[in-house]
Symmetry: C2
Subunit: 260 residues, 2 copies
């Protein structure tokens, strides 16, 4: 299935599942949709916290199209599932948002760790939550983001257990992908991030850490969502966790496409 | 001289020269100062054209201070020289801009190729315009920037002649510094960039290309300035070319400081 076919299936209500493992090798993106009045502060927040919020593309005001990451696309209908937040509260998880679309909406596409996971798998590094068909475990840390306007909050990290002898390789691979959170922010010390119990993630599922493995922590694309929710804006739309927007850009093309 | 002493000397009117070669190893920055009403479009322009416009820091509205790149600083007085553009026309080149400072100003610090030049010199790669005590030659290309709001125009490149056998090393070094334009956008084909005569740069000085050398082209920090001037905004302030803002951050710290 091509990314365009995948989006078409979403648009027609034929695909409503998580997108993990679909259209392998193509970049999937986090979505944040908010009114123009908040767009500058959010873009500045992303700029100041790029490791957690690597921006892939920003639409023009009101547009449901993209210029770079996809051509045949309707942002309001092409995610498998959305979430609607009003005043910071989750009020709906619809399959399309065209009925509540506003002409002042701006859409932000944010890099997703699915991209580096496929690079790790290709290099023989197991991704535990994929093996176990679970969501990646995510934790709110004690690391504060750099605020911008009303947007502030703590960095959320994702965790993957990696065998000690593969950690250097893991870092080398993810360092090459700064557009999708890049290299880990920390290796092996959950307590210094303020994480007291790895078996109780704040988001996603817990996964076992086997003998000889070290927990490795990456800045996570849930950070901007958590921050946006916390801001209690009248209306914000995001993708539903794991139900990402599929793009036409290969993970291996990201550096070229983003001109970095 | 420390960066803080350098800025103090500018503030007191004791230093008004170009900043090239001062406080070696410290990051110098391009400055663009414009009203809040234009800040979103400019930040979006930078986001869409990061190779030419690598943002280092953005101030809060009205602030003459920085949080990351310097502590003891007054943005309105600490550049060796400024330029003032009204309606797209250069109207003044003052040594301080506190008298025309507006409470709605936002300041953008943008990466400067001075940073990668010191890295190249340290690795035994000659920088011709430094050897000859000239300005780097810069050319307007036929490559269009990706527009945002009223900001649009063509990419400006800087050119350095590099011996053929040092080109791979030059690329490897600058690739490591995406915060200061990163690796070249092109090697050895000025005509395909729309540059017809290397001896007639659009900005800066021409430099000789010796036998065995190839012209190498980098996206240039003059791009955002050229674009902002072209936009004919009522009031924009920049640094005067070559008279950069000196920061407290070492070039070698950029990756860490920007969290990339």
């Amino acid at each position: 299935m091509t990314p365009a076919m995948f989006r078409q299936a979403c648009r027609q209500g034929l695909y409503r599942e998580q997108s993990s493992g679909q259209c392998l090798g193509y970049t999937q993106a986090n979505l944040v949709i908010l009114p123009e009045s908040e767009a500058y502060d959010f873009l500045l927040f992303a700029q100041r916290n790029r490791k957690a919020c690597p921006i892939l593309e920003v639409t023009d005001v009101g547009s449901r199209k993209l210029s770079v990451f996809a051509t045949d696309i309707d942002i309001a209908r092409d995610c498998p599932q959305y979430r609607v937040y009003r005043n910071g509260r989750l009020v709906d998880s619809p399959y399309e948002v065209s009925s509540i679309w506003q002409s002042d909406f701006v859409t932000f596409l944010i890099g997703c760790s699915f991209s580096f996971e496929s690079a790790l798998l290709e290099n023989g590094i197991e991704i535990r939550h994929i093996t176990l068909k679970k969501n990646v475990p995510m934790y709110t840390t004690n690391i504060k983001t750099t605020p911008a306007g009303q947007f502030h909050g703590n960095v959320v990290v994702s965790m993957r257990p990696i065998p000690a002898k593969q950690i250097a390789q893991t870092i080398a691979i993810t360092e090459q992908l700064p557009q999708v959170h890049g290299m880990p922010i920390q290796v092996g010390q959950p307590e210094s991030l303020g994480i007291t119990d790895l078996s109780k993630p704040d988001f996603g599922d817990s996964v076992p850490i086997y003998n000889g493995e070290i927990p490795v922590f990456w800045a996570c694309g849930v950070t901007p969502q958590a921050v946006v929710m916390q801001s209690k804006l009248p209306l914000v739309i995001t993708h539903a966790p794991g139900h990402m927007l599929m793009t036409d850009i290969l993970d291996t093309e990201l550096t070229k496409v983003l001109g970095e």
